[in-house]
Amino acid sequence: MKEYNFFLGCIAPNRYPGIEASAVKTSRKFDIELRDFKGASCCPAPGAFGSMDVNAWLALGARNICLSEKEGKDIALICNGCYKSLFEANHRLKSDPVMREKVNSILANIDYEFQGSVEVRHLIDILYNDVGPEKVKESVEVPLTGVNVAIHYGCHLLKPKFDRTFGSSERPRFFDELVEALGATSIDYKEKMMCCGAGGGVRSYKMDLALDIANEKLYNMTQANADVIVDVCPFCHLQLDRGQVEIKEKFGDVYDLPVLHYNQLLGLAQGMNPDELGLDAHEISVEPLLAKIL
């Protein structure tokens, strides 16, 4: 069994607890234990915090990494924003001695020191590269045959590509393979790789513009006959789920397109009950999807 410190971030535990619960439950099927990560905080939010002070952003991210270093555990996480903060902080501080010294001089004020002794992994990376689509397929009890999935990779999982390990940020395939391993169909849609619109602090700064981007994505997904949006980022998830309610209020456009985090979709395919996956806490009803599957 492989154990990771499970870095939760903010939006999964504090808005969509089903994402947190489903990650823990589905990982156990692959002998992966996501354990409590005591004292972790916000990653902190890369768009908002990095925009105010890059060094403070790195130091706050490094504080979280240092906590895990003390326990000798690699970090697993389920949010692209957290991934940007912690993967990049870990990568930059390991590879750039000048940056490391600068950040360690900040951390010295709280008696912490970045060692560079652990890895930061997105769970989708672990599922694809360590577990593999074949084993994911073997865990399926309820194949999602006939379900059209509009995949939303989210920006910070893949970009900037030179600071990542996934290769192409224009036409990636690994997430599609993991969705198809569940028996579902990953559909192509216009501007599939476009941003959800929420990042960079824009959702809280100019919500109308953030939603306008989400609206275009939702339209394109609907045009391609999507039954469900599947993401790997709780912030994209919030933007695409709650965003549909806001878009209806502000612009009058209605989609009623269910939104699931990959771990929730995986949970359904592994035969878990929708309630234990927290699907009833979503703004947009997941019932039409469940009717198609169950």
Partner: protein, 185 residues
């Protein structure tokens, strides 16, 4: 050296616009890798999802940064970038334009030109450790899926929050927040 003389900002005054040759150096020092290499092809602006629906023009931002036009720091559109990094991934000069924008935002923050929406997120982190803190409705949803009311983060262990505030203090962010909050009262 003649080139040294040309670096004096007064040589770069056009009308009322001041040109600060140090601006691009600051941008690069704060992470705007290769920003001085921009040859204004416009791939960034053409790739930008926000540029299609707003006044944000990444190419213009890059030009102003390179010319040292500090008025770019007052542009409210500077804060419209969602940091999707599409421009950076497509840049033929491998310029991290997104990081250049983030660097300009850092400089603007020091000049207290940061939107209050950002300051509010800092306030939440400073108080709870979370940019998006827990609430009562969510606590019930957590219990329903078999989780404790609060996650095992700073919400359960608030004794860790003081370290976060220490980092905010030594990097000068706490002071910026206090001053801006006082001014907005």
């Amino acid at each position: 050296m003649a080139s040294e003389g040309m670096r004096d900002p007064k040589h770069y005054q056009l009308g009322k616009t001041q040109f600060d040759p140090d601006l691009i150096k600051e941008v690069i020092a704060l992470g705007g890798k290769n920003a001085q290499m921009c040859y204004q092809c416009g791939t960034c602006t053409a790739s930008c999802p926000m540029g299609q629906r707003s006044g944000l023009r990444v190419r213009t931002v890059m030009r102003k940064a390179n010319l040292g036009m500090r008025d770019v720091l007052d542009d409210p559109d500077l804060w419209l970038c969602t940091t999707c990094y599409t421009c950076s991934d497509r840049c033929p000069r491998r310029i991290m334009a997104t990081d250049a924008i983030i660097a300009l935002r850092n400089i603007a923050t020091r000049e207290k030109k940061v939107p209050m929406s950002m300051i509010k997120i800092m306030g939440a982190i400073s108080k709870t450790g979370h940019g998006v803190p827990n609430n009562e409705a969510n606590m019930k949803n957590r219990v329903k899926v078999g989780l404790p009311e609060n996650p095992p983060t700073t919400h359960t262990y608030p004794e860790y929050i003081k370290d976060i505030n220490k980092i905010l203090e030594v990097t000068g962010l706490l002071k910026i927040r206090e001053e801006m909050e006082a001014e907005s009262q």
